[in-house]
């Protein structure tokens, strides 16, 4: 029983990470109908930027909440800019092209970030500085719930609610929902779709960066290819929830995290990574629109 609770905590922590990344996928798919393959690698850049920021700003040696907060914000800002830049340079010129063209470009950008990252950051794993000292908040029997676990879940929740507030309660959020519904009509109604799309990438990339920085805190070994698997899993989570659907991305992310952790714990750890693909195939075959999605019908 203790095992189960501990694994659930693990699962929720990872699930929150997946949810943050999944939101980025879902947002971009909503406005551009593009599967942004490069998104998982933005998460990696987030972790790396946080690492470098910690060292350059001198927080690496001395754990402090302020230190982590600063590093988190720096990383989020940097990746937000990176995401917007990628969109502007690589995706925007291709809007009139068939969708496969953008998809292949996204794959190219992803490879560029990965291989470029190996060159720039060096291929060997780095150790993320312990910006916040881990101590257990709660310990009964075999279950340990640390302050870091709490931090990850809390910050994730905060960011998700912040996003929800933006999407539901602000003008830009309304514009975003309009563009997700119909790109052309929004443009005709006077919405600056370019700005909306840029902001989508800004928000999505910032969330991914936050996820990266938090993962650094919890699982300190980071390397330039660390975005590949979580990227795929978060994408599957978005599909599971219904790609284009925000609450779906969150639910999908949490489900993915919990399922994979439980499978690794109770079945076999070698199958941990396969869980994502099995879920993917299952969703696509049974209900491709996901848990919360609705399909679109083509007019004949």
């Amino acid at each position: 029983m203790d095992q189960l609770v501990q694994q659930l905590i693990n699962g929720l922590a990872w699930g929150s990470i997946y949810a943050l990344i999944a939101l980025g996928y879902t947002m971009v798919y909503g406005v551009l109908r593009l599967i942004n393959f490069a998104h998982g690698d933005v998460y990696m850049v987030g972790a790396m930027m946080a690492y470098y920021a910690a060292h350059w700003l001198g927080f690496a040696g001395a754990p402090s909440v302020v230190g982590f907060a600063t590093v988190l914000l720096v990383s989020m800002a940097f990746c937000a800019a990176l995401g917007a830049l990628i969109e502007r340079v690589a995706y925007r010129p291709l809007r009139s092209q068939p969708r496969m063209t953008m998809l292949i470009t996204a794959i190219g950008i992803s490879m560029l970030l990965e291989f470029g990252g190996q060159r720039v950051f060096g291929p060997d794993p780095k150790f993320f500085p312990q910006l916040i000292e881990s101590h257990s908040l709660f310990r009964t029997g075999g279950v340990v719930f640390t302050n870091i676990d709490l931090l990850v879940i809390a910050i994730s929740l905060f960011l998700m609610f912040a996003l929800r507030w933006i999407v539901m309660g602000t003008k830009i959020g309304l514009a975003l929902r309009a563009v997700s519904h119909s790109f052309e009509t929004s443009a005709l109604m006077g919405i600056n779709v370019n700005t909306v799309v840029s902001m989508t990438f800004v928000f999505g990339s910032a969330l991914a960066a936050a996820a990266g920085a938090m993962v650094g805190l919890r699982n300190p070994k980071i390397d330039p290819l660390m975005g590949v698997l979580p990227g795929v899993k978060a994408f599957v989570a978005a599909v599971l929830g219904g790609i284009g659907n925000f609450p779906g991305a969150v639910v999908g992310g949490l489900l993915m995290g919990v399922t994979e952790t439980l499978v690794a714990a109770y079945l076999s750890s070698t199958y941990r990574d396969a869980v994502a693909f099995v879920i993917l195939i299952g969703v696509l075959l049974v209900k491709p629109t996901g848990l919360f999605g609705k399909g679109a019908v083509e007019k004949v």
């Binding site: 599967i35 292949i104 470029g116 693909f277 491709p288």
Partner: protein
Amino acid sequence: MNQRPNLIPLLLLAAQWPLGWLLGQVLNSYYVQIIVYIGINVILAVSLNLINGITGQFSLGHAGFMATGAYVSAACSLLAWPGLPAPLAVPLSLLTGGLAAAGAGLLVGIPTLRLRGDYLAIATLGFGEIIRVVILNADAVGGARGLSVSPTLGSYGFAVVFTCAIACVLVLWRIVHSPRGKAFTAVREDEIAAAAMGIDTTRYKITAFVVGAFWAGVAGGLFAHFIGYIHTNSFTFLKSIEIVVMVVLGGMGSTSGAILAAVVLTILPEALRDVAEYRMIIYSTLLVVMMLTRPSGLLGRHEITEWRFWRSRTAPSPLAD
């Protein structure tokens, strides 16, 4: 009417054997190896072009079919008929590998082909990875340690590979350019209209998948028997992407384009060997640049045999490509 339509193809096929011997005498084995890789990549690119380019079904899992062919053919050579002399065993293994891959194509195709566009791409990606993970966990064929393959093609590598490559191109070309074969293209152009004209689009899509997978399996088998050692690391998503890039560079739907691109993209990494650390960065940058500047690829949808292709090279056309 063409009185002897098979004369040139047969001559071409036969010529590969003396040619192979000649190349072995004249070139050092490093260059011969690159040429053999070109042959294997031609088969991969042309077979994927049938699925992605001609029939318009975006498959990102071609490496999975290649892996199936590689491992099944290797297993056959090692376990099913180990005593058989190589000239009998190898073709038999290649055929079996191809058929196994075709079966995989059927299994993957049937459920996924009712999905559209991005969803199909992702599903095929998923299946490609599942196939790889299953093989990785199959200790009977080496699993994580890889698998040594015997017999190997040795100095017959060029001849065998190019015989298969020519056969592949010939078969696919004749199918696609035949009257009934036009339906593959029609499915890509407008599936709803094709169905309204009596075409069983699902069956055509599955057929493209199965035929494409078969040849990918043959390519996998050739790869296995040429190198002599295979590991699932050779059949990852990256491999699928490399093949997709060949098809896109050549022009989606153009068989001659796919061949051209396979040649270019096999030679390019070797030419970039000097800057090996930057190789993948250059490759991915080129990919992005190509998509931004000429997404229709080298030949677009045309074949190098079409007058239309040459016309569009010289005169500015008022019509869209």
